[in-house]
Each structure stands twice: as C-alpha cells, then as structure tokens.
C-alpha cells in the first residue's frame, strides 16, 4: 500500500465515470423496499420466537443438561469465523501488496462488520439470564475464556468498523453533489459522515497512516478472536475438544467460510449493480485461487485433527470418532468434509470452475458446509460425557433442535443480511477514490 496519494486523480475525467458507475445503485429502489420488507417481516417472526424463549426459558430449545450447547453456539462460532475474512483480504493481502483486492476490500469489511456485530447477539440468545449480561463486566473474571472472547470480539468489531468507515470518508466527499437521484436525508447523512473532507494531500497522508496502523492492529486481533473462540472448547477436558491445534484449525476454517461469503456477496453486487467493470472475472478467478489455498490449509488441519486420534483410538476419543465416521453423524460429517472441502478444492483447481456463476454455487455449498462443520464441532462431543447418561428422560440424551431455536438462529442470519443490504445499498460498495487513483496512475504510465 502506497504511503502517499497523488490527488491529481480528482481532476481526472475518469473519476466522474467511475463515481457515476458506483453511485448509480445507491439509494432507495423498489427492489430494495421489497427485499427489506421481506427481511423485516421474517425477522419479526424470529423476534417473536425469541420472545417465547425469553418468557419460557431455554426449555423451548432442544438443549438439555448433557448437550447444553447446540445450534446457538455453533452459529456463534460460524459468525465469528466468517467475519475474519475482513482481516484476511484487506489486511494480509492488502499489506502484501496485491492490487486485485482493492475493489473487494470494502465488501470483505462489510462482511466482517455484519457478522462480528451479530455474533454478540447470538451469544446473548444462548444465555439463560440475558438480562444479567452486565455481570460480565461488573463481575468479570480474567481467568475465563469468555471474558477474553468478549474483549477481543468487541475490539475486532471496533477496528473493523473503523476499517470500513475510514476509507469511505473520501468517497462520501466525492459523492456529495453526485447524489441527486437519492433522497435528501441520505445526502445530508453523507454531508455529516464525510467530516468536512477537503481532499488535501495532508489529509490523505493521515488517512493512509491511520488505515495502515489499523490494518496491522487487526491481524493479531483477528487471530485472537478466533483462537479464543476455539479455546471455549479446547480448554475443557472433553474428547473431541481437548485438542492443542484448535486455534489454527479454527482460523484456517474461518478463512474458508469468509472467502466463500465474500464470493457470494461479490456475485450479487456484480449482477444487481452491473459492476462487471470493477468486479471482473479476474477477481472471481483470484478469489477461487484464494479459496483453494485456504481450503487446502484447512484440509491439512482436518487431517491432523481426525487422523491422529483415530490412529490411537483412546477409549473416549474412539466413541466420539466412531459417531462421526460411521455413527449418528456420519452423513453430516462426510457431506461436510467431501462436499464442503475436498470437492471444492478439486473443482477450483481448474480455471473452468473459477468463473463467477460456478464460483457462486461452490461458495454457497462451502458456506452451508461451514455452518454444519461448526455444528459437528460443538454438538457430538457432548453426546458422550465421561460418565454415562442414566435415569433421565430419553429426550435429554439426544439433541434435536426445535423450531423456535431454528427460528432464532435464522433471525440472526437475517440480521446479518439486513446489515449487509443496508451497507451495500446506502454507501458506495467499491472504493471510488482508490479505483480512480489506480486508473489515473495506469493512464499516466501508459502515456509515458
């Protein structure tokens, strides 16, 4: 990333056309109203489901004393995982100097913000006493990984919001005066949010410096957030969770889920907003390669995580692994591993499958598999406690998610989609100034 911005691009004619392209979809359209209406009404139903849970207690879920963490916790892990892609794309790839990530960096940050913000709510939905949430701060004990998790998730969310907002400021300033097709309040909001940006070289210098610091800060934060999330399991004594590689294993999996999510959002933005010029086939091709890379790393960790204990077959581990490989969870396990990991790796090795539409299909499969993978990490381990389950109702020994539980989980997903929709609909989804600057540089070079 350059440390200085040549502000000549502001005089370049190309800026007008780029801004026009990117700002065209911004604002309220009929499609947006219908889509948000649909999401809003569905969310109402899910909120009602949560009201029932609030009223009756967690008895309305399929959770009981033995399997006491289920869908909510799996969903939480999934959300935290998916949000990590913000760090991977804008920070790791950006700092290394890959130019192709520029137009998708903001999409990655949007995903990071949306998933990280709702992850906190997911955890609250799992609490027996959500009204006592403040106890975590009032009586927090530093020994508990939950406290670490709360600390790093809020830190990550804060940095992600800043990494979304700071590069947006010049765009908001550029957009002023080009937004005649949008409602007045949105223009006013741009006015306020652009914080009197003047496009001076000094401002750009400071902005780049701030972004650079944040990009560096977010790397350890992102590592911490998912490593600590994995420790919620790894610090226990239970077979299946009692593993030393859970941190990197979760991180690798997070990049798989996140990359798939970015591809899905990219695809819909490209097709709905007609932004083929900016989100090109090349970008999908590169995302495909990235997905292969992170998937192979994840596969490597999977092999470690399952092969080593299954070679030894310690009694308790053996019961757990038997359940996954050939038992109750075999279908889910092999679907996730083969369809969600092995097959995508094989397909994406061929450039034929790294085209936008096939990338979309593969990414949807990968993302769904990623959700079930979290379920497989969280639930089966609790199925076999050290001491036998006896003298309890049959229903206590198996975990069967209920409709209410599912509705609440769907509700959190809807909330993520709502946040993403609002951010991509009300603000420029591709960095205008970065695109214009890049174009200007390019033209300049070719003229020479």
């Amino acid at each position: 990333m350059a440390s200085e911005v040549n502000t000549d691009f502001l005089q370049d004619k190309k800026l007008d056309s780029i801004a026009a392209d990117i700002l065209r979809p911004v604002g309220i359209t009929q499609g947006f109203v219908v889509w948000m209406g649909f999401l809003g009404v569905s969310l109402m139903g899910c909120i009602y489901a949560y009201y029932i849970q609030w009223d009756k207690g967690l008895i309305v879920t399929g959770l009981r004393d033995y399997i006491s963490w289920g869908m909510y916790i799996a969903n939480f892990v999934f959300f935290v995982a998916t949000s990590l892609v913000g760090m991977l794309i804008s920070s790791v790839l950006g700092l290394i100097g890959f130019k192709w990530v520029k137009p998708i960096a903001r999409i990655a940050e949007i995903i990071a913000v949306a998933f990280a913000a709702v992850a906190g709510l997911v955890i609250v939905s799992d609490m027996g006493r959500p009204e006592r949430l403040a106890n975590v701060i009032l009586h927090g004990r530093i020994q508990s990984p939950i406290i670490w998790d709360v600390t790093v998730v809020t830190t990550y969310l804060t940095i992600s919001i800043l990494l979304y907002f700071l590069p947006l400021i010049p765009d908001l300033a550029i957009s002023k005066g080009r937004m005649n097709h949008t409602p007045k309040w949105l223009q006013n909001m741009y006015e306020v949010l652009s914080v009197k940006w003047q496009h001076t070289p000094e401002q750009y210098r400071l902005l780049l410096k701030a972004i650079r610091i944040l990009l560096i800060l977010i790397i350890p934060t992102a590592f911490a957030i998912h490593t600590v999330t994995s420790w919620l399991f790894a610090v226990t004594l239970r077979p299946g969770w009692d593993s030393t590689i859970f941190g990197p294993y979760f991180l690798a999996g997070a990049f798989v889920a996140g990359s798939a999510a970015v591809v899905i959002v990219m695809y819909f933005i490209r097709s709905n907003y007609k932004l083929d010029k900016y989100l090109t086939n090349h970008h999908f091709d590169m995302m495909g390669k990235l997905l292969v890379l992170v998937s192979i790393v994840y596969l490597y960790f999977n092999i470690n995580e399952y092969l080593v204990p299954s070679y030894k077959m310690k009694t308790a581990e053996a019961i757990h692994l038997h359940d996954l490989f050939v038992g109750e969870y075999a279908l889910m396990f092999w679907s996730v591993q083969l369809l969600g990991l092995v097959l995508p790796i094989i397909l994406l090795l061929f450039s034929f499958f790294r085209k936008p539409f096939s990338m979309l299909v593969i990414s949807i499969v990968v993302l769904i598999a990623a959700w079930f993978k979290r379920f497989l990490i969280v639930v089966p381990t609790q199925d076999h406690p050290f001491l036998p389950m006896q003298y309890v109702p049959k229903a206590w020994m198996v975990y069967q998610p209920t409709i209410i539980e599912t509705a609440i989980t769907v509700g959190t997903l809807l909330l993520v989609i709502i946040i993403i929709t609002i951010l991509v609909k009300f603000f420029p989804v591709i960095p205008i100034w970065e695109m214009a600057e890049e174009q200007h540089e390019l033209d300049h070079k070719s003229q020479k």
Partner: protein
C-alpha cells in the same frame, strides 16, 4: 470391610459429627457459630448487667464463645433476621478451619436412591434433576457392574470454577464448590467444562416457585432455585453450618456414605453414625478418586465394590426408569 479402624470413634481429639458429641465440641468445631454467639452474647451482656437488678426477670442461659455459661433476660433477646447479604457473605466465606470430604463405599450401594430423593426434596428439584445421581457402572466387558452414587466431586482444581466468567461458581476455604444463582448468567460453560456431568441447568421454571417467593436466597442451599441458572450439589453446606451431616448421607439406609473433615482426619458414616479415621479407611479399603488422571483433584473418594453385601440386580433399563 469397614469393621476396621473403629478406634477412631473413641479418639476424643478427633470427634466426628455424630449425635454423641458434647455441646462443647459442637461449638468448637463450628467456630463461626461461636463468633455469632459471641457477638450476640456481648450485646445482651450489657443488658444483662442492667436487668440483673430487676427482680423476677425471666432468665435464659447462653453459652459464650469462651465457654462460659451466662444468664441473660428473655426480654434482651432479639431475633436476627437473616437477610440476603448476610447469607451471601457467610455462604461465600465458608466454614473456617474445615476441609470437607466424602467417602462412598460402593460395596454397600444397592441403588435404593434414598439419597437422591432426600436431596431433591431439600433442594426443590424434579425427579430427573440431580445434584446426586446413582449410575450403573461397568469398567469393561468382563468386570462386574456396580452402582455408583455420583455427587459433585468438589474438586480442588475445579474446571467449572476456572471457566466461569462472572465468579458465580467458586471454591470456598472449606473445599466446597458452590453456585450463586443471583450472579449466574446461564452461559453453561461450567457444564461444558465439568467432566463428571455434575451440574444441572434450569431450562424452565423450577419445580417450586410460589412457595419459595419471599424466601431470601440461601447460597448454601441454592433455594429458591431460579430459571436460567445452574444448580449443583453443595455438600449440603447449610446442614454443615448447623453441624449436621448432608441430606444424602443421612438418608442412606445402607451405610454407603461417610462424611467428615480432612483436617481432623475423621469421617462419620451417615447410617451407623460411626466415626472413622479418613486416612485409615482409604488405606485399608484401597480408596480411589474418579478419573484422577484429569487433574481435577476430587474431594470425593470411592471404596471399590469388593465383597458386595448384596447381589447386583440391575435395573432393566436405567434410561427408562424415570
């Protein structure tokens, strides 16, 4: 197998908790009670000095902390209303100078489940909500099955306490692990962490709600129970405060349980009320702990199911018997 080490019961330096204890020993054992008595005694003592002159006053005898019996007028008495703050304070502090232990003799357990019902009655629990449960155990195919009562192990290195984010579950100086349902946020991390499945969660409104209304929460009894919070075995610390044996220990008809104080090296059988040397009992009977390899350091010891006092009759299906 437990006819040995009877001499412990005659050892006056190490009295147990049986009913034959003298009052003096009783208060000596429970210094905290002594402290309360001292405070109360001091308060009424001045009143007593004043009332002494009044003729015909109605006197009551009170034992002070330094073992003096004094007389105080009845009018000087004031009932101390035990409020939540005091219960919380004493409950978190624990009983000074004690290290409570339990010994479970598996040779004697025939799954009468009297311990369970007594416990559930005291703690207002449903039949399938266990602070203590009896499990049918079998180490491997060729070994004999046996019944194993399983309370909270009150580990000295408790995984549940380590992971609790809000200090709702904690370890007291007397070795007991308690749960504060005034504090608990219901995250269930402790359930995930406990290898002994010793904890229960109130998924719905607890069994008793109306009758417990207005009762101040007693952390040592965990009553009133509360929806959305954890409950667990408390070693009946409310009973220990009164110098009594835990509910399960007293209720057992078969002499399975011994309970006592590691510091005094003595445990008392809940059924026979005989007191034994803890170290001797464990040594002679090859006492062991549950899954010591996990490093939890349990405070509950088991004596192996050797020379059983009865024929093992397994429940047809322990799963369905509820």
């Amino acid at each position: 197998m437990s006819q040995n080490s009877k001499d412990a019961s005659h050892d006056h330096d190490h009295p147990g908790h049986d009913s034959t204890n003298s009052r003096r020993d009783f208060f000596k054992n429970f210094g905290l009670f002594g402290a309360v008595a001292a405070a109360g005694g001091a308060a009424v003592y001045t009143g007593y000095k004043y009332e002494e002159t009044k003729p015909g006053a109605n006197f009551v005898r009170v034992l002070t902390a330094d073992n003096r019996i004094i007389e105080v007028p009845k009018e000087g008495f004031k009932d101390i209303k035990v409020d939540l703050n005091q219960l919380q304070k004493q409950g978190r502090e624990g009983l000074k100078g004690h290290r409570f232990v339990m010994v479970i003799d598996l040779a004697k357990c025939r799954n009468a489940r009297k311990c369970i019902t007594a416990c559930q009655g005291a703690h207002h629990l449903r039949p399938h909500e266990y602070h203590i449960n009896t499990l049918v155990m079998q180490e491997s195919e060729n070994t004999a099955p046996y019944f194993m009562p399983k309370p909270c192990q009150h580990c000295d290195n408790p995984p549940c306490v380590a992971v609790c984010p809000v200090d709702a579950t904690f370890k007291r100086q007397d070795g007991i692990v308690l749960i504060d349902n005034e504090r608990c946020i219901g995250c269930r991390f402790c359930i995930a962490a406990c290898p002994y499945s010793a904890r229960l969660f109130h998924w719905e409104e607890p069994l008793v709600v109306e009758a417990d209304k207005g009762t101040p929460y007693n952390i040592e009894l965990n009553v009133p129970q509360r929806k959305g919070t954890i409950s667990k075995c408390l070693f009946s610390s409310d009973r220990l405060r009164e110098g009594k044996l835990p509910y399960c220990v007293s209720a057992c008809p078969n002499g399975v349980y011994y309970f006592g104080d590691e510091n005094q090296d003595s445990v008392t059988n809940g059924t026979t009320k005989e007191t034994f040397r803890l170290s001797e009992l464990l040594k002679v009977n090859a006492g062991y702990q549950l899954m010591p390899e996990l490093g939890t350091k349990p405070r509950v010891y088991y004596l192996p199911a050797k020379n059983r006092l009865f024929e093992f009759k397994e429940d047809k299906d322990p799963v369905q018997s509820i």
